[in-house]
């Protein structure tokens, strides 16, 4: 009998990519062993916290850790940014959730990550490379200062196209510009995988639709349990309704109703705003350095959380 010790979900390393983006490496050997590309976890920072879904950005089976890259956009993710130090523990981490991405045996694929979607696209790029595919990476950031994991991607991608809004690194333009250039150079791309904010994934799906290239997107709508029980994460895929947590999170981007998805992502925004304001207020009262106003939400903010 293997011992199944209760994991304490200890944070073993942390890296801050920018003012809003940070990486947490969490100890969970069983989860590290089970995780596959495309899956996510649900995290609770503390006992009174909300359950937030986060895509697994990396896993290390030998070290027994999983990596999460988080963007501080709401109350919970900002609170985690303030509190999650190396040596502290998360209250709950459950997963891996969702159906793993189907990698199969493809010859040439393109992996597109924008904003917070950059980290979760990494396991897919690596899995495709390991399966023997020619991998074209397309990564989008707002500017040079926000770029992270470039080396990590270069070591697994045959080609890497970096896109920034202001042209301070790589090409100037959105990831859709990178996709356009890659398709122009390679007529034989079999599949595109795109992860990022819904508006970006919608743009990617539109960019590949005329070329009839199969395009998978990873959806991360509002959810509570992540096990198919609440139905909060229901999304329209063609004529059918699916639950992203157990039927996805990967879906055919050419069938996803992105407008519906984006409309539904805003449904707790009043409460979310209230929670964030209270949090900022309490930070100011404590006199913490975190009390500064968050940057206004942009398309790069992947609303992956309830809060």
């Amino acid at each position: 009998m293997q011992s199944v010790a209760t994991p304490s979900f200890e944070i073993v390393s942390r890296e801050d990519f920018s003012d809003v983006t940070y990486l947490l490496e969490v100890r969970h050997p069983m989860l590290a062993k089970a995780a596959r590309a495309g899956q996510f976890v649900i995290v609770m920072e503390h006992e009174h916290g909300e359950r937030i879904p986060l895509t697994i950005a990396d896993y290390d089976r030998e070290a027994g850790t999983i990596t999460l890259v988080i963007q501080a956009v709401g109350k919970t993710t900002r609170e985690m940014q303030a509190n999650c130090r190396v040596g502290t523990s998360l209250f709950a981490v459950v997963g891996p959730m969702g159906i793993p991405s189907h990698i199969g045996a493809k010859k040439k694929v393109m992996c597109v990550g924008g904003g917070l979607g950059v980290a979760p696209i990494f396991p897919q790029a690596r899995a495709y490379k390991e399966s023997g595919a020619y991998v074209i990476g397309v990564l989008g950031f707002r500017n040079r200062d926000l770029v992270f994991w470039e080396d990590k991607f270069r070591s697994w991608c045959d080609e890497l196209i970096l896109c920034t809004d202001d042209g301070s690194a790589g090409i100037k333009g959105l990831v859709t510009e990178g996709i356009r250039q890659a398709i122009a150079r390679h007529g034989d791309i079999e599949e595109v995988v795109a992860i990022g904010p819904p508006i970006m994934m919608k743009g990617c799906a539109e960019a590949t639709r005329p070329h009839k290239i199969r395009t998978m997107v990873s959806l991360n709508p509002v959810m509570v349990d992540g096990t198919g029980m609440c139905g909060g994460c229901r999304v329209k895929i063609g004529e059918t309704v699916k639950f992203a947590c157990v039927d996805g999170p990967d879906f055919d981007g050419h069938l996803v109703d992105f407008d519906d998805l984006m409309a539904r992502l805003g449904r707790y925004k009043v409460a979310e705003k209230e929670a964030l304001e209270r949090f900022n207020e309490s930070c100011r009262i404590r006199g913490g350095a975190e009390g500064t106003e968050p940057e206004p939400a942009t398309v790069d903010d992947r609303p992956s959380t309830d809060g």
Partner: protein, 501 residues
């Protein structure tokens, strides 16, 4: 011996239980029914005829010796009553509150043929609550069998199965995907019907039996059922994951904001404590005019939770009539008292939204009952030209659930055509050593039916593992040495101690 009781000599009126005033309770989450006080319990217990026929025992899904425990109450031997209850049901405080007694024990009570039936549920709760208050816990004599049993899901089915397997000497681990054990008792049934302290107290009793609860564990994805019976070394596994996947109707407007499943509403409000937002972080934008579709227990819970969250008006929309409503009679009654507006024989046809994509109204059509359908209930048919609108800013679907797909996706378990796990009569699945019961086998049912299934599976698992079926094995009240012979407690005198190598 007292003179034999007859229907004429017993107290004629069913003893009412004290309840919070409807106007007051509709705005708080405290328990509605305050339960019997001692003197009330004694009067009600005296109403049991102790009839020879005992139809109530057959009416109980777990076969509690109902006349037996009631007799102990009349004898004022309350711990004895608790012993009898816990012989068959480790969770009397829960079952006394949430069982649909009117369709089970009380529905077939002999007294009920002439008068109101004995309030068996309230008496069960009285004994269970007394045990929690007094700190009674019946820890049976357990001889380790060397077997390891894994349970998937810490809801009522899993809890009942775990208790039986632990009593049979197995080392039991219960895996739960949520961060707290309890399943539907925690996320679904609200505090005013079943307080969390009661659930926690009952779970604590299971821990005392040696049962280990592992939360935050999604079986199927973190490890599979097959891994449990192979590399993880479990000799038997019970799957009680519940039904899960909530149904919607497929009418236009279901993806509007403000439209959600009862599971989502209840989980946010109960387990995640959104009702205490912002002290707890989970948000829930409560509606001012809430419309709940369906008339089962879950629908009643959703309506009454909405009321307590501050709704001005709560409507129920159900396509059949009150007589067909699947909820416990007491829940419908409580909901009516609290001011829920019922629209019987009404079916939604469309949800209408505003410019910000939020729901603003529900279009409905009136129904009338036609010919009986497959379920024997008269089929509701729309009345032409009867469409109307209900102004509403929150719509809750409480029309049932479908099978959760996770175990089907991740294991070789054979499923039926609806996606539920297929079992034989003993609840054995297509994988040797793996048993299943509760909603994931039958589709949505009640807490006590799930518990019954958990116990039924436990019997089959014990047979599979070659263990004696040891119900009713409690150590005596006192550790009196006179009650022990050769160091063997009295309750154990008749057991042959044979251990197979």
């Amino acid at each position: 011996m007292a003179k034999k009781k007859t229907i004429r000599t017993i107290p004629q009126e069913r003893t009412p239980a004290q309840e919070q005033d409807p106007r007051e309770r509709a705005r708080n989450f405290l328990e509605v029914s305050l339960g019997y006080r001692l003197e009330e319990a004694l009067v009600e217990a005296d109403r049991c005829l102790q009839c020879a026929d005992e139809p109530c025992v057959r009416g109980c899904p777990v076969g509690i010796d109902i006349p037996g425990f009631i007799r102990k109450i009349t004898e004022k031997h309350y711990h004895g009553a608790y012993d009898i209850l816990t012989d068959t049901n480790l969770l009397p405080s829960i079952c006394g509150r949430v069982c649909p007694q009117e369709n089970q024990c009380e529905g077939v009570c002999t007294v009920g043929e002439t008068l109101e039936p004995v309030a068996i549920g309230r008496l069960e709760r009285f004994v269970g609550d007394l045990a929690i208050k007094e700190g009674w816990a019946n820890i049976p004599y357990i001889e380790p069998s060397g077997h390891r049993v894994g349970i998937v899901g810490a809801g009522p089915a899993g809890m009942a199965c775990a208790a039986d397997m632990a009593k049979a000497g197995c080392e039991v681990v219960v895996y739960e995907a949520f961060h707290q054990p309890g399943g539907v008792l925690k996320y679904g049934i609200p505090d005013f019907r079943l307080p969390n302290e009661v659930i926690d107290a009952e779970i604590e009793k299971l821990r005392k039996l040696g049962i280990r609860f592992e939360c935050n564990t999604l079986v199927g994805r973190l490890f599979t059922i097959e891994q449990m019976v192979t590399e993880m070394g479990f000799h038997a596994v019970f799957v009680g994951t519940g039904a899960g996947y909530p149904s919607f109707m497929g009418i236009p407007g279901e993806s509007l904001n403000g439209v959600l499943s009862a599971n989502e509403l209840l989980t946010r409000a109960n387990l995640m404590r959104a009702r205490d937002f912002p002290s707890f972080d989970t948000p829930l934008q409560p509606g001012k005019r809430v419309t709940v579709i369906g008339a089962g227990n879950t629908a009643m819970d959703a309506m009454r939770v909405s009321m307590r969250l501050g709704a001005e008006k709560v409507f129920c929309v159900y396509r059949r009539s009150k007589a067909e409503a699947p909820a416990r009679a007491e829940e419908v009654h409580h909901a009516e008292e609290e001011g829920i507006e019922f629209n019987w024989l009404t079916s939604p046809i469309e949800l209408l939204g505003d410019a910000s994509n939020a729901v603003r109204a529900m279009r409905c059509v009136r129904m009338e009952l036609g010919e009986p359908d497959d379920s024997g209930r008269r089929r509701p048919v729309p009345v032409p030209g009867s469409e109307f609108e209900i102004e509403t800013d929150m719509v809750v679907f409480a029309i049932g659930t479908n099978a959760n797909p996770i175990l089907g996706q991740t294991s070789g378990l054979k499923l039926n055509k609806w996606g539920y796990i297929q079992t034989d009569d003993s609840l054995a699945t297509s994988i040797a050593g793996v048993y299943a019961g509760g909603d994931i086998v039958t589709g949505a049912a009640t807490v006590i039916q799930a518990m019954g299934a958990g116990r039924k599976a436990a019997r089959a698992m014990k047979a599979y593992l070659g263990l004696r079926d040891s119900d009713c094995v409690y150590t005596p009240d006192t550790d009196d040495p006179a009650g022990r012979r050769f160091g063997i407690p009295a309750a154990e005198h008749n057991f042959a101690r044979v251990r197979l190598a």
